[in-house]
């Protein structure tokens, strides 16, 4: 008798997870990194691996770091928003190409247009771990002192941009 209950048991477990999942917003995650200095790194540029970029170069500027990948479907969804944001030129937007092949990423940028001032390649995802990246896309807003002030999990939506990111950008730029 017991072994015939196994499917039911597995199903109840699944329902428990699904019920729990209903309460969660897949896009909202608190980050322990908010208010902490952005982890340092030095990574090769996607377009020119012989050159390197480090966040230390950005001291004194408010900037945004967007984690993306060519295999990431949601990144494609958020892309028009980023393009528009980059055109507005309010703060520089840097890209972190996460766990991706360089050739794929370059093709992706050529195809969908490039909103990034520059993109660095984090092929093995090490820097992603330092930044607590859960999945692409994620976006970090970093202030003049190099402190992470905001993190967007999932796509940057026009709403999030207008209501959260842009007001914060203005505030940070005045500091």
């Amino acid at each position: 008798m017991i072994r015939y209950l196994i499917p039911l048991g597995l199903f109840i477990l699944l329902v428990a997870f699904l019920a729990f999942g209903l309460k969660l917003d897949p896009r909202e995650v608190p980050s322990p990194l908010i208010g902490k200095p952005a982890p340092a790194f030095e990574l090769p540029l996607l377009a020119d691996p012989s050159r390197k970029f480090s966040p230390a170069e950005m001291k004194g500027k408010v900037w945004m770091l967007n984690v993306w990948a060519s295999w990431c479907v949601t990144c494609r969804e958020e892309h028009p928003v980023l393009l528009q944001f980059a055109k507005s030129g309010s703060v520089p937007l840097y890209g972190l190409d996460w766990k991706d092949q360089n050739a794929d990423a370059l093709r992706w940028l050529a195809r969908y247009d490039n909103p990034y001032t520059l993109t660095v390649a984090d092929a093995d995802g090490r820097v992603g771990i330092d930044y607590g990246v859960y999945g692409a896309p994620e976006t970090y807003l970093i202030d003049k002192a190099g402190v992470i002030r905001y993190k967007q999990i999932g796509a940057v939506t026009p709403d999030a941009l207008q209501q959260k990111i842009l007001p914060l950008v203005r505030e940070l730029q005045q500091q």
């Binding site: 039911l8 209903l22 897949p26 999945g135």
Partner: protein, 655 residues
């Protein structure tokens, strides 16, 4: 007035579903012929009321009745009439109503094509379907009423999502739903068998054509969805492992396992509990797919607008339907006897292996789809699972399965001496190995994966031809359609594998900047860019590019890819232009205008050369055709045929 009529008709359908779900089941339990006889008329009334509601909604769309909220949200007066009709299933409420119409249609079909079945069986099957209908109707009426009014009416509608304005989408959802919902019949048969305790070969024979028909629709639905993604999303890919695609693929995998397992139950009386479990599983995954798509627990490109009440309601529905079936299974299954014995090497063993592989594949897809949710629920953070996971897990599972396809038909039931099997398919081995190794060399680019893919495809082809030849030698008259169906479907797999392997191995793509007059060469073809002009559409404006496709200096045809901007949305849409061929596709999509001020009209253009890509869908079509041949086999149409092999007992009508 007409929307209210539709609403009223749905309420009526709910009442009928309550009767249909209760009275025949009690009747079957009490052995009361009168109560059982209510099943068929109830099924007919159910179909009529749901069809009337559906017709009312369609009328609201065609007549541009923007005082109906759902119509105002998903249609527009400029939308061509075909798409206005298809917009009925362009959103959540309408697709549920379509789902319900399909369920009522399947129930009607069961009531019409079950003359040879015992009345108690028919009553139970229709009763179970009635209970499922009741749940879905309640869901529609409580959380997703498509007839809700918008007063005052909107001046014009918000338009249908441009991605969905495509001929492929007019038929893709109905096909897919026919498949999803069709598994409810296999499910109802399984539950009816558990209720009656008559889990036997006769039950398997009744279930088989229904299961096959649902499987055919699901195969076609997935094929259309994949083809639609290929030419409208403009990425040139044909499968993305998106949660919604996975939601349709999981029932397909389990349904395929079920089709094979039913064969064992029918022929040998074995695997009965297993088959019942698969039938419950296939339908459960269809329901789970609905939950995943509608509840917003996962993020997907297909995500529908979410409403927390809907998620909770579907989860409850899911729990009640699947939970109670599994409970019934746990109660009844221990009493079911084992079937015929079989040796370690026999067709039964091979089919069991096939089942295990398919089920593990479905489980791995389920795990990959739900993993972000589970990790999140356990408080371990958020992750996303992408194509790398699915490819890494799925491909190794498919290799042994493809190998088995060649082996299975050459084996015998009960006991299959290895010597005999080897003798039957010996020639296929060198054909596969030599062909698989040498063909990629001839094509100029050898990689282990291309070689392996071709080897497996050739293996299936050779083994199939050998089996057909042997069967013909044994006498052509006695070959049933199901035999041809099986082999056609297996050949479909081989064709599919060739397509996937060669596209993956040999496709090339270029992103180029082109000015009028520029040419780009690819795969022996030359494309000359003639320029881009503006063309008006009914509810969009388009930039249409003109490219001349030529080979060896001879112009073959003109390709016109488009970039459309729909008036109601800002997002531009890519319409690729494809020159389709048996051995290759040339695929052109317009990128963006590159605007230096000189006004030369340069555009970024993306060109793909995709060898054998159409074999992917051709293979699916062959599988569906094979399924059709098998489902139309004579033995399903003749009455309660003689039990095959085992002690199948058929309950008499009303007994």
């Amino acid at each position: 007035m007409i929307p209210e009529l539709g609403h009223f008709s749905l309420i009526l359908a709910l009442c009928i579903a309550a009767i249909q779900g209760v009275v025949p089941l009690i009747g079957a339990h009490r052995n009361s012929t009168g109560w059982m006889a209510l099943a068929r008329p109830a099924a007919r009334a159910q179909f009529l009321t749901v069809a009337l509601a559906f017709a009312c909604l369609m009328q609201a769309f065609i007549a541009n009745d923007f005082s109906v909220l759902y119509v105002a949200d998903h249609s527009n007066s400029q939308l061509p009439v075909v798409y206005r009709a298809a917009a009925v299933w362009g959103g959540h409420e309408g697709s549920l109503l379509l789902w319900m119409l399909m369920l009522a249609g399947w129930t009607l079909a069961v009531s019409a094509f079950s003359r040879t079945l015992p009345l108690a069986m028919v009553a139970r099957v229709i009763g179970v379907l009635g209970l499922v209908s009741f749940g879905f109707l309640l869901f529609i009426l409580i959380t997703s009423n498509p007839f809700e009014r918008l007063l005052p009416a909107a001046a014009d509608g918000r338009d249908l999502n441009p991605l969905l304005q495509d001929p492929g989408l007019v038929i893709h959802p109905p096909m897919l739903y026919m498949g999803y919902v069709g598994f409810s019949v296999a499910f109802a048969f399984a539950i009816a068998a558990l209720l009656s305790g008559q889990l036997d070969a006769a039950w398997a024979r009744w279930s088989r054509p229904w299961t096959l028909t649902a499987w055919i629709f699901l195969t076609c639905g997935i094929m259309l969805g994949s083809g639609w993604a290929y030419y409208t999303l403009g990425w040139g890919g044909w499968w993305f492992w998106d949660p919604v695609e996975n939601a349709s693929f999981m029932p397909w995998l389990v349904g395929t396992a079920l089709v094979h397992s039913l064969a064992v139950t029918e022929k040998r009386g074995a695997f009965k509990n297993w088959t019942v479990l698969l039938a419950i599983g296939a339908f459960s995954l269809s329901l789970l797919g609905t939950f995943l798509v509608r509840s917003g627990v996962l993020t997907s490109v297909h995500a529908f607008a979410t409403d927390p009440r809907r998620g909770i309601f579907i989860l409850c529905l899911l729990s009640v339907v699947i939970g109670s079936s599994l409970l019934l299974f746990a109660w009844r299954a221990p009493k079911v006897g084992l079937g015929g014995r079989f040796a370690l090497l026999s067709r039964e063993t091979l089919l069991l292996t096939n089942n295990v592989l398919l089920l593990v594949a479905a489980a791995s897809v389920l795990l990959g789809t739900l993993y972000p949710l589970i990790v999140d629920a356990l408080g371990l953070g958020k992750i996303s699972v992408g194509p790398p996971y699915f490819q890494a897990v799925f491909v190794p599972l498919m290799v042994p399965l493809l190998f088995l396809i060649g082996l299975g038909p050459s084996s015998r039931w009960k006991d299959s001496p290895p010597k005999e099997m080897l003798a039957r398919i010996r020639i296929a081995i060198p054909i596969a190995i030599v062909g698989g190794l040498s063909l990629p060399l001839a094509a100029g680019n050898w990689t282990p994966l291309i070689s392996l893919g071709l080897m497996l495809a050739l293996w299936i082809l050779a083994a199939t031809v050998l089996d057909i030849r042997r069967r013909i030698a044994a006498g052509l008259d006695s070959i049933p359609r199901a035999f041809w169906g099986m082999h056609l479907a297996h050949l479909g797999i081989a064709v599919f594998v060739v397509g996937v392997t060669l596209v993956k191995g040999y496709e090339t793509e270029k992103d180029v900047r082109m000015e009028p007059g520029d040419t780009v060469a690819m795969g022996g073809y030359t494309l000359r860019f003639m320029g881009v002009r503006d063309t008006p559409g009914p509810n969009y404006k388009a930039a249409t590019g003109t490219l001349e496709l030529s080979k060896d200096g001879k112009v073959l045809r003109t390709l016109s890819p488009e970039k459309r901007t729909y008036f109601s949305q800002e997002m531009p849409m890519t319409e690729a232009a494809i020159d389709t061929g048996v051995t290759r596709d040339v695929y052109v999509a317009l990128g963006n205008p590159i605007d230096p001020p000189d006004g030369k009209g340069a555009w970024s253009v993306r060109v793909h050369y995709k060898p054998f890509v159409d074999w992917i869908w051709g293979g699916c079509l062959l599988m569906a055709l094979g399924g059709f041949l098998a489902a139309s086999d004579r033995r399903y149409r003749i009455g309660s045929a003689a039990p095959a092999g085992t002690s199948a007992s058929i309950q008499g009508a009303g007994a």
